[in-house]
């Protein structure tokens, strides 16, 4: 019988039955226990209790027995008891009060500790002193210390006085505010301006694929109007020559993806010695032979700056595409010597 009951109850039901039994034995203990439980779990227990209605002595024995087997190692005897609806009502009659006790102040505004000091100070600057005092009250000691150290003495004095005299009338209201403020702060923390990293990266990607003369015209204009944005864009911009810093393995992936020997031959017409060596070092003998043949057939008339530039843009475009597919490491970062050794693969 006990075995059957054991399997038919879920963890919430068992917890609720145990709590009801304890409440019958020691009135008032439920609120104490719930104050140690996470608010959402406490709420779930409360809802389960509300739906239990009547618990028979067999179920009660089974739950206590299981609790005993699992958690209590010493010998003790519990008497059986039918849990009536009156008992449920007695223990859980004031829903709001119980939820307030269950939720208490544990965990309230706990997400504030994850925001930077500056973000919090910025928010406090636009808030009333009373609200600031409430929120400071719920910060952990380290965060409170960090924030207070960045405030002037006069403000600290006023806030400390308010914190010491806080008389919060409604935890329910504060919990409602807890959820709303979380939304508001996270919305504020989301980057939305043109200077955000995401936006800069997007623009850098566009400029990489732009013919250099056109790019320079745009840059000249940006230099006059938004010089700080231009500096950020240039930091993110990947040029053909930057690819020389890639690991050999990543570089070979790009060469393999391009495969077009004509493009490689054209690129070699106008690039640094370092890049020439990098390309040649990452070609297989067969590919090298094909390239040599290609180089011999290129006439000087064919080598137009526009075509060379397009060939270089194709390298960058291919590199970015592989980066997006996570087939090569993030562009713009020089790999360490160790990484380079590790990443040395077979030639293309």
């Amino acid at each position: 019988m006990a075995q059957e009951t054991k399997s038919s109850l879920n963890a919430l039901e068992k917890s609720s039955i145990l709590l009801l039994f304890l409440e019958a034995e020691m009135p008032g203990i439920t609120a104490d226990i719930l104050s140690y439980i996470e608010p959402n779990a406490a709420k779930d227990i409360y809802i389960t209790v509300e739906n239990l209605k009547k618990v028979g002595s067999d179920k009660l024995h089974s739950v206590i027995d299981e609790f005993y087997q699992t958690f209590i190692k010493n010998e003790c005897v519990f008497g059986g008891k039918n849990i009536s609806k009156e008992l449920i009502t007695k223990a859980f009659s004031d829903k709001d009060k119980l939820l307030n006790i269950a939720q208490g102040s544990r965990g309230i505004f706990n997400y504030l500790n994850s925001f930077s000091d500056e973000e919090l100070i910025d928010f406090f600057a636009k808030e009333s002193r009373q609200m600031t005092a409430v929120l400071l009250n719920f910060l952990n000691e380290d965060k409170l210390n960090a924030i207070m150290n960045k405030m002037d003495t006069n403000k600290i004095q006023k806030l400390t006085a308010l914190m010491l005299n806080l008389d919060l009338p409604s935890m329910e209201l504060l919990w409602k505010m807890h959820y709303k403020l979380d939304e508001v702060l996270r919305e504020k923390a989301r980057p939305v301006t043109i200077s955000s990293e995401e936006q800069i990266n997007k623009l850098a990607y566009v400029f990489e694929n732009m013919i250099i003369s056109m790019r320079e015209r745009v840059f000249t204009n940006l230099k006059k109007t938004k010089p700080e944005i231009l500096t950020e864009i240039k930091k993110q911009l990947v040029n053909f020559e930057d690819l020389v810093h890639l690991s050999d393995k990543d570089f070979q992936n790009i060469v393999y993806e391009i495969r077009n020997i004509r493009i490689i031959a054209l690129t070699l017409q106008d690039c640094s010695q370092e890049m020439k060596s990098k390309i040649q070092a990452n070609l297989s003998d067969r590919f090298q032979a094909m390239l040599d043949e290609e180089l011999e057939t290129i006439s000087s008339e064919e080598i137009e700056p526009q075509k060379i530039q397009e060939a270089k843009l194709l390298w960058v475009k291919t590199a970015r595409s592989l980066e997006k597919q996570n087939k090569i490491k993030k562009l713009g970062r020089r790999p360490s010597q160790e990484e380079n050794k590790e990443n040395k693969g077979g030639k293309v």
């Binding site: 709001d96 928010f123 636009k126 808030e127 009333s128 002193r129 009373q130 609200m131 005092a133 409430v134 308010l162 005299n165 806080l166 008389d167 919060l168 009338p169 409604s170 329910e172 209201l173 409602k176 505010m177 709303k180 403020l181 508001v184």
Partner: protein, 170 residues
């Protein structure tokens, strides 16, 4: 004006006071109702330059109406609900903070609860801090102005004013 309109507002004061008292665990009392028919232009002139103004839409009555709270009421109520003595903090500019906006919306929620129990099918549309940013009535349009006083723990907090169009009060 509908004969039961005044009675309905007395009931609203009672219910909203009770709801707010239960939420805040404080003695909130809204009362001393005064109803008056006027044109919107006159009503507009009476509204303070800076208040907390909520625009509400009754889908059942196919009309919008305005709920206005004295700025002082929102400041004091927020201070009390955040554990303070109910003072108005000195401020360089006139604005409502996140917490004050939150408290104001909580109060509006209680009013909406009453309207919806009485089949208004009411929804909060938006809030403003200046009446001139709302364009829901013509200047010459007749409106019903309802003025109520709000007290917390026996202390006067400020006025709550509602402006209804004919679709609602006739």
């Amino acid at each position: 004006m509908r004969p039961e309109f005044n009675e309905q507002h007395k009931k609203m004061c009672l219910e909203v006071s009770d709801e707010l008292s239960a939420l805040t665990h404080l003695n909130v009392n809204i009362g001393n109702i005064h109803l008056e028919l006027t044109d919107y232009h006159t009503f507009f002139q009476r509204v303070p330059e800076f208040s907390y103004i909520g625009l509400i839409e009754s889908k059942a009555k196919k009309a919008k109406f305005i709920l206005i709270f004295d700025a002082a009421l929102i400041y004091k109520a927020s201070n009390i609900l955040l554990g303070g003595p109910g003072i108005i903090e000195e401020r360089d500019d006139s604005y409502f903070t996140f917490s004050e906006d939150f408290i104001a919306k909580e109060i509006i929620e209680k009013f909406l609860g009453f309207y919806n129990e009485n089949e208004y099918d009411a929804e909060f549309v938006r809030s403003e801090q200046e009446i001139e940013l709302l364009h829901s009535f013509y200047d010459e349009q007749e409106v019903c102005q309802v003025v109520m006083d709000c007290e917390v723990k026996g202390e006067k907090m400020g006025k709550i004013v509602i402006c209804y169009p004919q679709e609602i009060y006739k």
